[in-house]
Amino acid sequence: MARVALFIPCFVDQLVPEVGLDMVRVLRRIGCELDFPEEQTCCGQPAFNTGYWEDARPVAERFIQIFRRAEMVVCPSGSCTTMVRKFYPELLAGTAMQKEALALGERVFEFSEFLVKVAKVTDVGATFPHRVAVHDSCHGLRELHLKQESRELLRHVRSLELVEMPYSEDCCGFGGTFAVKFSAISAAMGDAKAGFAETAAAEYVTGTDPSCLLHLDGILRRRNSAVHTIHLAGILAQTGGAAERRPPAASSRGQR
């Protein structure tokens, strides 16, 4: 198995570290050797998406330097992976680092993508006896063309009932700074998704993007919904030991 460098998105590091920890557990279980380049901070996406390319550029260049010698980089976020693979070449167009950006892009993978397409593993020995629906995060779906990977992995999780929620490909409304600038629209979009998850009677909504899940979770909790969110890594990390029925992700930390 390959040696993998962990790309832990900035907000995963600071706000939902368990997503990173769960991914570590799964990668170790399938035999990966892991590195965590400690100098990493952020891929630059917030500034890039808001149009602040001059500010995003040095952050991107720093990121490339940090991961320069990594054979393989794995990230528990479709949008951050997209930033590196799809948008770094444009951000760094006309600079000396563009070539490196393109090369790095070929070695960076989103977590489910890595498991299914690179490691060629679909059964990670997980157990999760719940009804689960997948939210198809936009970057993963439309830029990385991910859809079946997470479903394949979930189909091999013991006792898991996989359901489809209506409009699973609709955007949840997070969109980065969009959620702050246009909070009413963002919340309404999330609200619609929350409703669809409830229609599907899912116990959990999962996906490849912790940002989407954080956004949906905040709205579901506000609605006192029976639906909870959990990152894909959170499901795959569970191996079913009784002691391990630990409640999922951010929902556990006593949110209102």
């Binding site: 995963v12 998406n49 500010d55 936009c138 905040g218 006593g254």
Partner: protein, 470 residues
């Protein structure tokens, strides 16, 4: 923040909370999606069709002068006139002067978004000319004194009860909410107008260079009547609508119909060029094409953004957009709404005043996925944002925030420190019950979300310490 941006935020907030409105839109879009899916399955290779259409429009737009001149010459050979209008005012004046000179009292109009863009109707009405919208959706919003809600389905936001009430009030002889009878009432009323108007004004889906004809499509037949009976036919079109060859329509027509409404081809797919020819039974005596620039040549001059001019105005992006589905067409406050509107309006009318439209998106990319001519709409939204920042159209506070962000991200210790501060801040706010209040810097978020409880330690602190859990 510009006036337009403030208005948008206000309207968007109201509409976002309007569940009834969201339900109406969802129902309409679901209908469209079913029809569209069926429509695409009629193609052996829908992607090949998109590639072909992209290629046709690229050829046309990147040789715009050549094809416009060819179009103009062939229209003139047919006895038609071509007028090139720099801006809205010139276009309005040409048409108004023509109408006045010809003693026009009534105009029948088939759908033309350019006519909305240049605000034509008020100019004609000021001259005492009655302007009658003949597309049923446009007719309905005209009676309501509203602007079109959607470029293809202008009355999408209304249900039959709304329309029944409107017809009863404005047409008098109607007292039903049965769509069949409502349409029959509109047919009766508009028929009188078709046969008494002196001038018909239409838009154009395409300007066909090698034929000197315009291509027009409707299901109702209103454009056919508007361009057959009145003695003068005026076409209003943006300069970018040109296509090189008549044969291009073999793929453009079915693609436009599929993307627009899910049909294999629109009921009346029409070509007209010039006034009636000698020997023809009927038809207008005069044919005028008004080509409108209004900022398009400037967009053309930006090679990165030029493909935005490939748009065939099918409306598919609007239907795919979750923001449109949430706020509806009127909230945008502009002629063009949805993704194409958010990309185009800042470019045609100025980034300083309209860049907010390009920010009012989560960049989900659904629009680019469905665009039949493969415009990467969501990437253009991003470019608009980049250019707005470069031009300093953004608020000062935002610029400062990203300077700070950049500094914070360029070192892992600063980053960890800021992260620690943020988590501490969240705990303090929560403890003081100030989250979601005016004292909360994350108020826009916390207003709508249950507060996130920050973790005691970040990943980087847990890594290496017994390597997280194990």
């Amino acid at each position: 923040m510009s006036r337009a941006a403030q208005e948008f935020l206000r309207s968007a907030a109201i509409k976002s909370a309007d569940l009834t409105h969201r339900q109406v839109i969802r129902r309409n879009i679901d209908s469209y999606n079913t029809a569209n899916e069926r429509g695409r399955s009629r193609f052996l290779d829908w992607e090949a069709a998109r590639l072909k259409c992209e290629q046709i429009k690229w050829e046309a737009v990147n040789n715009l002068d050549r094809y416009l001149l060819e179009f103009e010459q062939r229209v003139k050979d047919r006895g038609g006139h071509v007028f090139w209008a720099e801006n809205s005012e010139e276009a309005r004046n040409y048409i108004a002067n023509l109408a006045a000179a010809r003693g026009v009292k009534k105009v029948v109009k088939s759908k033309s978004m350019v006519s909305e863009e240049i605000h034509l109707s008020p100019a004609l009405e000021k001259l005492g000319i009655k302007v009658v919208e003949t597309d049923l959706g446009e007719y309905i919003v005209q009676l309501r004194e509203e602007t079109p809600y959607h470029i293809v389905t202008p009355a999408m936001h209304l249900n039959r009860t709304d329309i029944a009430k409107l017809f009863k009030e404005k047409l008098g002889d109607v007292d039903t909410d049965d769509p069949q009878q409502l349409v029959a009432a509109a047919r009766r009323s508009l028929r009188r107008d078709f046969f008494s108007a002196e001038m018909g004004i239409s838009g154009a889906n395409f300007l066909v260079a090698d034929a000197g004809m315009i291509a027009l499509t409707t299901n109702e037949g209103n454009a056919r009547l508007s361009t057959s009976i009145p003695r003068i036919h005026v076409v209003l079109s943006g300069i970018e609508k040109v296509i090189p060859h008549l044969h291009d329509l073999a793929v453009l027509w079915p693609v436009l119909a599929t993307a627009g409404t899910g049909q294999p081809i629109t009921c009346y797919s029409t070509l007209v060029g010039g006034p009636r020819q000698p020997g023809e039974a009927d038809g207008p005596e005069e044919f005028h094409v008004v080509l409108v620039d209004n900022g398009r040549s400037e967009l053309l001059a930006n090679p990165e953004e030029r493909e935005v001019l490939h748009c065939i105005r099918c409306g598919a992006c609007i239907n795919a957009c979750p923001v449109f589905r949430t706020v509806g067409g009127h909230a945008y406050g502009t002629t063009y709404m949805g993704p194409i509107g958010s990309v185009l309006t800042p470019r045609l009318r100025g980034l300083p005043e309209f860049n907010h439209l390009s920010y009012a998106s989560s960049l989900c990319g659904a629009c680019s996925d469905v665009c039949p001519v493969r415009i990467s709409l969501h990437h253009h939204l991003l470019h608009n944002r980049r250019d707005a920042v470069a031009e300093s159209d953004r608020p000062f506070a935002e610029r400062v925030a990203f300077r700070l962000w950049r500094w914070g991200m360029l070192g892992e210790h600063r980053f960890a420190f800021f992260g620690w501060m943020a988590r501490l801040g969240m705990r303090v706010l929560k403890a003081l019950h100030l989250d979601g209040t005016v004292f909360d810097p994350a108020r826009p978020w916390n207003r709508n979300h249950a507060a996130t409880v920050p973790p005691p330690k970040p990943f980087r602190a847990l890594w290496g310490k017994s390597d997280g859990h194990n």
